[in-house]
């Protein structure tokens, strides 16, 4: 591990100023904020991240979970995954988020990992993690070892010829289905970013994963008020029943009245290069009568543009069944 300078600012301004000295906020950022450490320390041990400065943000007052002024919920960036998952308002109004968080990692990791850190969770693609292999995300221009390599876990949606790494987060699938916004404090002030606009598909620059610039510090995530009459649900399919990343997952928010779907949001995990919002599935479902046939049509639409690699073709049908089952479960009576 490369050595680093350590600082622990006590104000947001100090933290942003320290972060703003970085040349990038993306891969190989020379200044990194550290919160729970569960991704960053892991990658620093592998030499995949080599910051020469760590800015510890654990002293910043960002762990609160509060009701938003116009309804909804504001989750502080430093709120731990366990605290969010067990928060009464989250369990009552946003069960998809609680379920997603509790399906990820381990109890110990959930006590450490934060809301803001989870937003920036890195891919589990083995080639990013192994500096002996080429990886366009880690070192642009070196090539993608996953295409034609070990890619069973990797993405089938939003891929490019340069990168097929999947986004591994469960939290971010739920936040996408809930249409969360992300509040960022930067050198030029504060701004709010819709989660769908936060992540960047790999394209020709897989080393750029999100819109953050040097100094940008995620301070909170805001959930809009729960959709009236809607229920939410997270279904995660994986190789083991626990402690494993998703092969396919679906976070859905669905409202049905008189048999008709009046509100629907569909997000997918383990399948996309970014947390994947399926407007195509929502378009098929909106205003239709909830039925297995409609759910299947929605699933077909969601996977229409899927581009599997050599080992993950099974994900296409798995994903469709995942969507159908998530919609079925969330629209059942009771």
């Amino acid at each position: 591990m490369q050595t680093f300078l350590y600082s622990r600012p006590t104000s947001l301004d100090q933290a942003v100023m320290a972060g703003a000295k970085s040349k990038t906020a993306q891969q190989y950022a020379d200044v990194r904020f550290i919160a729970g450490g569960t991704t960053l320390v892991d990658l620093m041990k592998l030499d995949v991240e080599r910051p020469n400065q760590l800015v510890d943000i654990n002293a910043l007052p960002l762990a609160q979970i509060d009701t938003a002024p116009g309804g909804g919920l504001v989750i502080g960036a430093m709120a731990r995954n366990a605290a969010v998952a067990h928060h009464p308002a989250v369990q009552r109004d946003y069960p998809v988020l609680s379920q997603a968080l509790l399906s990820g990692a381990s109890p110990q990791l959930r006590n450490m990992a934060t809301t803001g850190g989870n937003l920036l969770q890195r891919t589990r693609c083995v080639y990013l993690r192994d500096t002996a292999h080429a990886c366009n995300k880690r070192t642009p221009g070196t090539g993608c070892s996953a295409i034609g390599g070990h890619n069973r876990m990797l993405a089938i949606l939003g891929t490019s010829k340069d990168c097929i790494a999947s986004n591994p987060s469960d939290q971010n699938v739920a936040l996408t289905a809930l249409e969360a916004t992300i509040q960022v404090q930067g050198a030029k002030g504060r701004r709010s970013i819709r989660i769908e606009e936060f992540y960047l598909k790999p394209g020709a620059t897989p080393n750029r994963e999100n819109v953050l610039e040097p100094g940008d510090l995620i301070v909170s995530v805001t959930l809009p008020p729960p959709a009236p009459g809607a229920r939410s649900y997270y279904l995660k399919l994986r190789d083991r029943a626990a402690y494993e990343f998703a092969l396919a997952s679906a976070g859905v928010v669905v409202g049905v009245s008189g048999g008709r779907i009046h509100h629907v949001r569909v997000a997918l995990g383990g399948l996309g290069t970014v947390p994947w919002r399926s407007h195509e599935a929502e378009h098929v479902l909106q205003s239709q009568t909830a039925s297995p046939a409609v759910f299947r049509r929605a699933a077909e639409a969601a996977l229409k543009d899927a581009q599997p690699a050599s080992e993950n073709g099974f994900k296409v049908e798995l994903a469709k069944r995942c969507i159908v089952r998530a919609l079925t479960t969330s629209t059942q009576a009771g």
Binding site: G37, D42, D56, A105, P107, Q108, A242
Partner: protein
């Protein structure tokens, strides 16, 4: 010849000749544990400070950053109720600090990447993987290790339950298992064995002692 041999249980007559054991080759007597922990920390050089001190400080960064005393940071850690003032390389994880700097080897290093749970300790009462944060980040925290949970003459009820139910085989994962089990006493965990399995899945047991671990945790929950 059997008749020429003393019974192997005789405490003061070793079966093996002593003159080529590791302990006798060293300049002073070391327990197995302190010998191994010195080896782990800095190799054999650490056992002979006057000659090898320079070697010991020159270990690490091969990346062009010279390691000098100025590269260390002051760290104050409160572990098992006792406050320690240390001067550490900022890269020292909480796990390595506990084992190598504070001589608390009950916390184990397994995968060192947050995947096995062997390094589980409590930070402010909550269980965490001590391998995934730096010691310097914990200046303001209360840390509890297995040594602070109980000792051989006054075991925590959960430790006693692991003994009573044989909740281990090799024992390497056990301190992490017990730290998780003690933490879940204060977590929202349901009453069933299935609930316990869910709450304990962050602790891997390579020997596969899981049925006994679940039984131990359930017994520990009843008696704690």
């Amino acid at each position: 010849m059997p008749t020429e041999r003393k019974p192997s249980s005789a405490p003061d007559v070793p079966e093996e000749p002593q003159n080529d054991t590791v302990e006798q080759q060293l300049p002073f007597r070391l327990s197995r544990r302190s010998f191994l922990s010195h080896l782990g920390a800095a190799g054999l050089a650490a056992t002979a400070p006057p000659v090898f001190a320079a070697t010991a400080t020159a270990e690490a960064p091969a990346t062009g950053h010279a390691s000098t005393a100025a590269d260390t940071v002051p760290v104050t850690l409160t572990v098992n109720g006792k406050t320690h003032k240390l001067q550490l390389d900022p890269r020292t994880t909480l796990l390595d600090c506990l084992r190598e700097n504070l001589n608390l080897p009950g916390t184990k290093k397994g995968c060192d990447h947050g995947q096995c749970g062997a390094c589980t300790v409590h930070v402010n009462g909550q269980r965490v993987n001590s391998c995934l944060s730096f010691a310097v980040m914990h200046t303001h925290d209360e840390i509890t290790t297995i040594e602070g949970i109980g000792q051989p003459d006054h075991l925590h009820p959960m430790q006693a339950a692991f003994v009573a139910h044989d909740g281990f085989q090799c024992g390497y994962c056990t301190s992490g298992q017990i730290m998780s089990a003690v933490a879940l006493l204060k977590e929202p965990v349901g009453p069933s064995d299935e609930d316990v399995k869910q709450a304990m899945y962050g602790n891997i047991c390579r020997c596969g002692a899981y049925p006994n671990i679940v039984a131990a945790v359930q017994a520990g929950r009843r008696s704690a």
